[in-house]
Symmetry: C2
Subunit: 327 residues, 2 copies
């Protein structure tokens, strides 16, 4: 089943989210709008607003502007971090198009990210719940911490343990999706049990989502994935597919891999193809997907505590989709 079918139960609200996004990137400074629009209009999945809307629906809230505001706010935070990510990673492509930093330069890209962060928190404020604001600002702080952790780790790939890898994933990706689940429950006035269940659901699909992303980076084609393939390795990022492969390598393979990965001056084509070969040979991608599926299983278990309705059904389908997506 494709993504749009899975989330069809909240389609009308997702249209409202789009309108709210459009309103909130309007600025008297034309370039601010232009850059914001470029990335927001490039066909992101709107995973975060979908989780907010489905989570609030699962808890019985199916009307009111607040869940639209919250959904838009969380998409804006996500988009802001993509802008900053592209500057940090010196990215060339994002969603199959030249990245914003390539088109408009680092300066404007950083600042428009800041603008979006500020606007997103203005939107969250409009929901009128301090508990909500706390959930979102906590997640935003963790997100930045996760990104710093990733930057630090990229200076020495070989020192990145599985624990550090998960630390990055949890902070950088899972914490924001966790907050989407929680925000939906808070908006619906749900009890602590439902809040915890939806937080756990968001966290677990968030980890899985990033793991699949890391797996696709080694296995997808550029056309499918919308960004350069093997990009993580090129950028010096240790991810689980490679870590798993290294764990199963022969001593000879590991020695050569260590020599390559500890070379801070970048990799030759031969280096890259050796490392990719290693990931293939030791099924790093498959093992990563297996781990992602473990998290999806946990997410489904958490969601089973929710009321049985169409929204909860969609949450369950969405969990499966996250593990199975190819792009």
């Amino acid at each position: 089943m494709d993504f749009s079918e899975i989330i069809s139960v909240v389609n009308p609200e997702l249209d409202e989210v789009e309108q709210e996004l459009e309103l909130n990137i309007k600025s008297p400074v034309p370039l601010v709008y232009e850059i914001s629009k470029y990335l927001l209009g490039s066909g992101g999945k709107r995973l975060r607003p979908s989780v907010v809307l489905l989570a609030s629906g699962a808890c019985g809230l199916t009307g009111g502007a607040e869940r639209v505001y919250a959904g838009a706010a969380l998409e804006l935070i996500h988009t802001a971090t993509l802008l900053h990510d592209d500057v940090v990673d010196e990215a060339n492509l994002r969603r199959g198009r030249p990245a914003s930093n390539v088109v408009w330069g680092n300066k404007a890209t950083v600042l428009v990210g800041d603008f979006m962060l500020a606007r997103s928190l203005g939107l969250i404020q409009a929901c009128g719940s301090l508990e909500l604001i706390k959930a979102v600002t906590d997640a935003a702080a963790r997100l930045a911490e996760g990104q710093v952790l990733e930057v630090m780790s990229s200076s020495n790939m070989l020192e990145v343990s599985e624990e550090v890898c998960f630390g990055i994933i949890e902070n950088k990706t899972a914490s924001l999706i966790e907050s989407c689940g929680r925000v939906g429950a808070v908006l619906a006035g749900a009890d602590e049990g439902a809040k915890s269940a939806l937080s756990a659901y968001g966290f677990d699909i968030g980890v899985a989502f990033q793991l699949v992303d890391d797996a696709l980076d080694y296995s997808s084609t550029e056309k499918e994935f919308g960004k350069g393939v093997g990009q993580d390795l090129v950028e010096g990022k240790m991810t689980l597919p490679l870590l798993y492969a290294l764990g199963r390598s022969t001593e000879g393979e590991r020695e050569r891999a260590n020599a390559i990965l500890s070379n801070g001056d970048g990799f030759s084509d031969e280096d890259l193809s050796f490392v990719r070969g290693l990931v293939d040979r030791h099924r790093g991608v498959d093992r990563t997907i297996e781990t992602a599926k473990d998290f999806i299983h946990k997410a489904r278990t958490a969601a089973s505590a929710l009321p049985e309705n169409d929204y909860t059904k969609s949450l369950l389908m969405l969990a499966d989709y996250v593990a199975e997506r190819k792009s």
Copy 2:
């Protein structure tokens, strides 16, 4: 009178603000704390927390943790934008020390700025007032817009009018200090009159503060100012001292200046010294200071609507200090 004497009435609370700042930059990621601490510990004036504390005091609120939280939050937002500013401007020095981007690189600097933004909004949330959150997020969005406007303008200095110059100053600097005044009043539960007066006060001293900054950039020495002198010109930023000088130049001077300023490839030492000479000759610095004093006059008028007490007296002294400071 020096700055610390002027604000002595809120000195104990400023110590609490320092403790709150320290608490809020703590992170499980050591580098996040290290970078945050480096800039926060480099002797900033704490102008923004001072305005929050004096404004709330002027309206009769002299106790409670909220004004400490709010003061710390606004200093964090300011510090975050300095970090992003240094990346955007490719700065070398900040407050007399190597800028963060020089020490740790652009990547970590951008991300630690994001972390501080998130933490600052968490702190504002802890104040428990949605009106407050709106004031601060609006200001943060305007701040980013002002910075983008500045970046856009630097690509064509000659097209920057006085109106655009003020647009940048108002968004980039004045809006945040305006929100400091408003936040103080809101925390104190002041009436609309006091809120407007303190917003206007903050806005006007904010404009004056930036104008003096722009004047010092052409007139100060590096030792006094803590950053390179003539840096605005080197970075292609049109500011009021130069704009005023161009407005009074002879046709011959203007032709040569236009030729220099429209050269996108940077300036020779001879170019720079010609332009600086122009600013000297036509008293661009003095005229800018005069304009700053007009804003200080407006700020004093706004503050005269406030209750007469020690805090209001400090606000008036602070206004004078802003126009007269030499560093």
